[in-house]
């Protein structure tokens, strides 16, 4: 007997994702799809996906997509939005992509006040390549390139990108959210919607950092991974609005 246990979210294509159990990418995709649907923007949205686990985001979210070279999504998005200011343009980048190899591109996109939205997935590790240390890996956190835990003396402390980028005038709105429970899930949804709406008002760069899980590379069960986001990650990366300026 066939039983439907799951239907694709609004704004999502009817295909299974390749993500690991307990990974939050799928949830963030679904939130983006829902919000685009709600804003009636699926026909006009252009997403830029990163190099990393979300490289196939364009196969899942039901709008047009470009796949960028590692870290270069903000430059690609600049080319898209400047030539097509009427489109709703967003990048979707992980922490290795945005905070490491693409640090220059995101800094300058924000500096110029590029009027697109960044969805920044911070899971404190390189997911696709198998769990190496990221610029966002917490002090003491173990990874395949920091087997004894991240050592401050050797690697410094992890970077808070939302705060760093918010020092620049071009950043109009930055919020850090997580998906560890339903209350935070709704806050995340609201933040994504607000970022997209502000973008269309042309106020400047809008940025949503999502603290996410990587149960596979963290070596945790999905519920434990969610708890770790809520109890440990969010201590170092405080949740909430980091910056909001009027037009």
């Amino acid at each position: 007997m066939r039983q439907i246990v799951m239907v694709p979210g609004r704004g999502m294509k009817d295909v299974p994702t390749h993500y690991c159990p307990g990974c939050h990418h799928g949830i963030v995709h679904r939130l983006i799809g829902e919000v685009l649907d709600e804003l009636q923007a699926l026909d006009t949205a252009v997403g830029i996906c990163p190099v990393g686990c979300a490289v196939y985001a364009g196969n899942y979210i039901d709008c047009d997509f470009l796949e960028a070279a590692h870290g270069r999504a903000p430059a690609v998005a600049t080319g898209v939005k400047r030539t097509h200011p009427d489109k709703l343009v967003f990048t979707y980048q992980g922490d290795g992509d945005l905070a490491s190899i693409g640090a220059a591109e995101i800094m300058h996109a924000v500096m110029r006040g590029e009027k697109f939205t960044t969805i920044f997935i911070n899971n404190a590790i390189y997911g696709m390549t198998g769990g190496q240390m990221a610029p966002t890996t917490l002090e003491g956190q173990k990874s395949t390139t920091s087997s004894q835990g991240r050592d401050k003396a050797m690697h410094g402390l992890p970077v808070r990108m939302a705060e760093l980028l918010s020092t620049m005038d071009g950043m109009a709105y930055a919020e850090r959210v997580c998906l560890a429970d339903m209350s935070n899930y709704h806050k995340a949804r609201k933040a994504i919607k607000k970022a997209f709406m502000l973008q269309m008002q042309g106020v400047g760069h809008t940025f949503v950092e999502v603290l996410s899980t990587c149960p596979t590379n963290w070596g945790m069960s999905p519920p434990d991974a969610s708890l770790w986001v809520k109890n440990t990650m969010s201590q170092y990366y405080p949740l909430g609005v980091v910056k909001e300026r009027e037009k």
Binding site: K13, D14, L42, D43, T44, A45, V46, I48, V55, Y56, G58, N59, D62, C63, D64, F65, L66, E67, A68, A69, R72, A75, V76, A77, T78, G79, V80, R82, T83, H84, K87, A104, E105, M107, H108, R112
Partner: protein, 356 residues
């Protein structure tokens, strides 16, 4: 039609706009700075987009974004900056996106010099960045030709959905010459129905990507690319042959060096040596069939390649002639320019060796 005096770099910028380019992204580097400077005021006037990028890497990725939206987009740089763009060019190839890239070559390696050079020939004509890709590479030797080739570059890029490089040097960029703007009818181009300008209904999205994770899928894509390259090799080679019929010796040179080689050929004619100039205009595809035909004339005793490099195009000359004629080489490197007198000496030497 009126003749106008133009500086090379500014001319190339203006020609791009007249060819329908509506997005320019660049980063300062000598000797091509007049291109972004000109674009910074002229492009907005033409209703297009100008962004001074934070790096050459960002600039080529902005081109990727604009091109994926169906806009005629370009960037320009000089040798060290073009090295930084290699990643982006490979992605343009992999995503089948049209783009025009201008390289006003300077002496290398490393930071090198700012004087003219042709030492990026290998980088331009073999495979840009990683992977098995190609760019069509066009090499102007006069400013009139540079203006005309800019229009061709955008057409070729759109026709074959691939990056096209204008490969010139600091001399071409900095010199001034009289130019006539030709009013030529726009060529019919294939529709850009692949552009990511919005989905065509639920589930009908565009996804511009160079990722083909399955090796067999990726091989199929590569096969398709190679088929296109074979077509281009048949259809698009271009060259100019000056006094090659019945010549004793052919001088093979492109761009600035071809101008000097032509002076040398004229001096040689005065001496009674029949020297011809074979000038590839497309460096990829290399006009090997035409070169082979001219070099195989019984009168031709040698083909001397002259470059502002340690010898790069000469490899294509040797591949084309496969040992059927002596193929000596003369080059200056580092930003130094060959003199006509030096080329004449090399011809004497080559003819002597061919006789021996």
């Amino acid at each position: 039609m009126n003749k106008e005096l133009w500086k090379g770099n500014e001319l190339i910028a203006e020609a791009a706009i007249r060819a329908g380019c509506r997005a320019y992204f660049g980063y300062p580097i000598t000797p091509q700075n007049e291109i972004p400077e000109y674009m910074s005021w002229r492009m907005p006037e033409a209703g297009g987009v100008f962004v001074q990028a934070e790096s050459e890497i960002a600039a080529i990725n902005m081109v990727y974004g604009a091109s994926a939206m169906g806009v005629r987009a370009m960037t320009s740089s000089s040798s060290p900056g073009i090295s930084l763009k290699q990643e982006g060019i490979s992605y343009l190839v992999g995503a089948e996106l049209p783009a025009v890239i201008v390289n006003m070559m300077r002496g290398g390696p490393g930071l090198g010099s700012i004087q003219p050079s042709q030492s990026d020939y290998f980088q331009a004509t073999r495979s840009p960045g990683h992977g098995d890709g190609h760019m069509i590479v066009l090499a102007p030797c006069r400013l009139q030709e540079a203006a005309d080739l800019m229009a061709d570059a955008f057409d070729l890029a759109d026709q074959y959905r691939m990056p096209v490089m204008i490969l010139a040097d600091g001399m071409i960029g900095q010199m001034m010459e009289a130019v006539t703007w030709s009013e030529r009818p726009a060529k019919p181009m294939p529709p850009k129905d692949w552009a990511a300008t919005g989905r065509e209904g639920p589930g009908k999205t565009h996804f511009i990507t160079s990722l083909r994770l399955g090796a067999s899928d990726n091989e199929l894509f590569n096969n398709r690319l190679q088929q296109r390259y074979r077509l281009i090799e048949r259809e698009e080679p271009r060259h100019e042959a000056v006094d090659c019929e019945g010549a004793d010796i052919l001088l093979c040179a492109f761009g600035t060096t071809a101008r000097i080689a032509l002076s040398a050929a004229r001096k040689l004619r005065e001496e009674g040596i029949k020297a011809g100039l074979f000038r590839p205009i497309t460096l990829w595809p290399f006009p090997e069939v035409a070169l082979r035909a001219l070099a195989s004339q019984p009168s031709v005793r040698a083909v001397l390649t002259v470059e502002m490099s340690a010898g790069q195009m000469v490899q294509d000359v040797r591949l084309a002639l496969v040992g059927s004629r002596p193929t000596p080489f003369f080059g200056r490197t580092g930003g130094m320019i060959p003199e006509a007198g030096q080329i004449v000496e090399q011809v004497h030497l080559a003819l002597k060796e061919a006789q021996a």
